[in-house]
Structures are given as C-alpha cells and as structure tokens.
Symmetry: C2
Subunit: 118 residues, 2 copies
C-alpha cells in the first residue's frame, strides 16, 4: 500500500506505477529506443549494420546498450563461429511486445520531426 505509493507517479490513475530503477531507466538512456526500433524494423541486424543505421553512436555506447538490453531480455544475441565473426541481434518476444508499445511514440516523433524539417 504505502510501499506502492512511494514509487507511483499517480494514485488516481494506473497508467504508470513505474520507477526509474526499473526498465524505464534503461529505456530512458540515449539510443535505447532507436536501437529497439532499428532491430524491430529490420528483423535482424548485425553490430556494424546497427552502427551505420544509428549514425553517430559510439562503439562503446552501442556495445553497452546491446548488453544491457540483452540482460533485460529485450534483445537476443546470436553469434556464428565464422571468420570474420558474425553476430546477429533480434528482438525477443518481450522485445517485440515492447516495440509495439513504442510504435505510437515513434510515429508521433517522426511526424513531429518531419514537420520541422520538411
């Protein structure tokens, strides 16, 4: 009861009982939403395909975010023992659900950014 209200954004409305310590803290990091969208839109992506699509991300940040999202069970990493090595990232079931949940946001963002740049 009281434990819950501490981490509530609102008591009247149950839209959000989330704390920054949870998954929202990961999604609020720079690049997370774009990484999830990119992988989702392309079904599978390799590390350097992501690097290109996400124009300007640093390799450290990309590697850190991928690990974090993998640990959170949002994305899956598959590596193939080839030379040069090949690693493919895709969304898990949970990641695909999350992607659906962020699509309205991404649409809103692209329509707004579109308006400005057109």
């Amino acid at each position: 009861m009281q434990k819950e209200s501490k981490r509530c954004i609102s008591r009247e409305d149950d839209v959000c009982l989330c704390s920054i310590e949870g998954i929202i803290g990961i999604l609020s990091k720079k690049w997370s939403l774009l990484i999830i969208s990119a992988i989702g839109n392309n079904h599978k992506l390799r590390y350097n395909e992501l690097e290109k699509k996400l124009d300007k991300i640093s390799p450290k940040t990309l590697a850190d975010r991928l690990k974090e999202l993998e640990n959170a069970n949002i994305i899956k990493r598959e590596s193939f023992a080839e030379i040069p090595p090949r690693v493919e990232y895709s969304l898990t079931k949970e990641g695909a659900d999350l992607r659906k949940a962020i699509m309205p946001l991404m649409r809103w963002v692209s329509s707004r950014d579109g308006k400005l740049s057109s």
Copy 2:
C-alpha cells in the same frame, strides 16, 4: 532522398525516421517520460509536487528537464506572483498528444515492473 536515408532507422518501414538530435534526444533523457506522465496524469503539478512524485530526482535535474520540455513546447509553465511563489506545470496540446503516444509504453512498463515486484 539521401539526406533522409542518413537519419533513417529504416527505409523499408516508415515507423521511424527520427534522429537522436530531435525530440527523441530529449525524451531519451533520464526522467523525461516520467515527468510527462506525472503531469499528464495529474493535469497540473507544482514543482515540489513533482519532486515528491518523482521520488529521488535532484532539483537540478528536475529544473533542467522542465526548462527543456517547456522549450520543446511539451509543457507549459504558469507562475503566480504570490509569497511563497506558486508555479504550475501542465501539458500543452502537443504534450497531451505525446502523452497519448507514450501511454502504451508506460502501460507495458508498469505491467512488466509489476510482474517483477509482485
């Protein structure tokens, strides 16, 4: 054409043409989504009501995010010449649209965090 593809997450799918330089960069900062949700869920909130609802945010970060969201035309700031001073934050029309776009995400987040903490 080429200008667009540089900042595209995907060319096949128009769900996201957004770059981290735009509004997504602001929304990807820590606390932004929770601030927008909190204000939206409560219609209007004062600075220190936000501070309490957003348990653990620092005053600097809250002040910075509020200014940034105000500049981006997501929230509106109204101050009243009283002692002690009163300032109320609410969503603009654009902010309200954004909030609608974020609701599926917030619901997904709270159902997932809920599972973990129950």
